[in-house]
């Protein structure tokens, strides 16, 4: 009996990375001027030194367009079969932001849709895009995470106001083999809607169209329980994924967690049992950019050499929903733009 070698498993492979931050830097000092807080408090509680906020008139779709264009350039391509955009700060409640971004990028009439998984959005979007590729519905997909949290922050809330920043990051995924560098090797996704109240904008949706309390139109977060859930959910999700793809924890070179708080990233490293130095941290200069945080952290890690071709990289994110997700890849030889 002749044996035919099994063909390598089809997978979505990372081909390029692009990021964009709006020009205006907002320092801790600037925020300390109008909120009852201080640079020292913000740095010790969160690790954040500065963040970028858009100027009035700039929308999430504008940041998504810039990051998307850069990702396409980095991948050396000018067409894709789909656009998946993760955001919790869309340009409009309706329609999705992705079609307008796709059109502006000159990508024609390809399927384009948004993913609403808050700070876990990028991993969910990557999973959706990878599924389109593995199912044969697409050969190449542009995945974007873009946010303008500055517009939903309660200016009187000194906890959330200092944490969040605006920005966008994008990747190009292309059909390839699970054996090549850059292949997304698997996903672990989950949610816990019992705790949907921990991170929410109370008004503006069908549950509460409008509210007499102006605070209801803003983003709210219960910091302490969110901290604890973030560490345990990302930790358990990462461990489950590593087990499934057969990577011993000690073989992971870099852990790129959602950039919410440096103390969450350190606690995640402790939870997993990897050295804290393996945790990629860039929130000190961009803050928490929600769905944009993972590609922004990856771009900085590429620039600093913290992530290099051949490295085993674990990505894990957590956010409102609650929702969380993890994926992993061997870092490919790509460019970032």
């Amino acid at each position: 009996m002749s044996t035919i070698p099994p063909s390598p498993r089809r997978a979505a492979v990372l081909k390029g990375l692009g990021t964009y931050l709006p020009p205006r830097v907002v320092s801790n000092e600037e925020l300390s001027g109008r909120l009852d807080t201080s640079d020292e408090w913000i740095r010790t509680r969160t690790g954040i030194r500065q963040r970028y906020w858009v100027d009035p008139g700039t929308a999430t779709g504008d940041l998504a367009f810039e990051a998307g264009a850069r990702a396409l350039k980095a991948a050396g391509v000018d067409s894709v079969d789909a656009v998946v955009l993760a955001t919790s700060t869309p340009d409009h409640p309706c329609p999705a932001t992705a079609p307008a971004v796709a059109a502006r990028l000159g990508l024609g009439t390809v399927p384009a849709f948004d993913i609403a998984a808050v700070c876990a959005g990028f991993v969910y979007a990557a999973a959706s895009a990878a599924s389109l590729i593995v199912a044969g519905l697409a050969e190449r997909v542009l995945v974007i995470g873009a946010e303008t949290y500055s517009g939903i922050l309660n200016p009187a809330d000194r906890t959330t106001s200092v944490i969040f920043g605006d920005g966008a990051g994008a990747i190009v995924l292309e059909a390839g083999s699970a054996e090549e560098p850059g292949a997304l090797l698997g996903f672990d996704l989950g949610s816990d809607g019992e705790r949907h109240d921990l991170i929410t904008i109370p008004a503006g949706g069908s549950r509460m169209r409008t509210s007499e309390d102006p605070a209801d139109q803003y983003f709210t977060m219960q910091g302490k329980p969110v901290f604890a859930h973030a560490v345990t959910r990302m930790g358990e999700s990462s461990a489950a994924l590593l087990e499934r793809i057969g990577w011993p924890t000690e073989s992971v070179d870099r852990v790129v967690g959602h950039q919410a708080n440096v103390r969450i990233l350190h606690a995640l490293a402790d939870f997993l049992g990897v050295e804290r130095a393996r945790a990629v941290v860039n929130l000190d200069r961009v803050g928490n950019t929600s769905a944009a945080s993972i590609p922004l952290a990856l771009a900085d890690a590429m620039l600093s050499g913290e992530v290099a071709p051949g490295d085993r990289v674990l990505l894990s994110a957590f956010g409102g929903g609650l929702a969380w997700g993890s994926t992993a890849l061997v870092w490919p030889d790509i460019t970032a733009a």
Binding site: P225, A228, R263
Partner: protein
């Protein structure tokens, strides 16, 4: 002093950079001037170590490491562990 209490002392000294000489199992957390996140971080560590879900406010109410060990026992941690 239980082995678990000793372990938690070591853990807090190592992870939260608390001077060893200022911490023993009977030290009130309140006297350490910990910032608001430390007990959350401790709760996460204890959950991972002992597999028992515990909230920061429960640790805060337990007031000391001895009290926290008692809390863990009431939540099912075997006394001989």
């Amino acid at each position: 002093m239980s082995a678990i209490a000793n372990h938690i002392v070591d853990l807090m000294v190592e992870k939260f950079e608390i001077p060893a000489e200022s911490l023993d199992p009977a030290t009130p957390f309140e006297s350490l001037e910990l910032d608001s996140l430390v007990l959350v971080e401790l709760a996460v560590l204890l959950q991972k170590l002992y597999g028992i879900a515990v909230d920061d406010w429960e640790i805060e109410a337990a007031a000391t490491i001895d009290g926290t060990v008692e809390l863990l026992h009431t939540k099912g941690l075997p006394v001989a562990a």
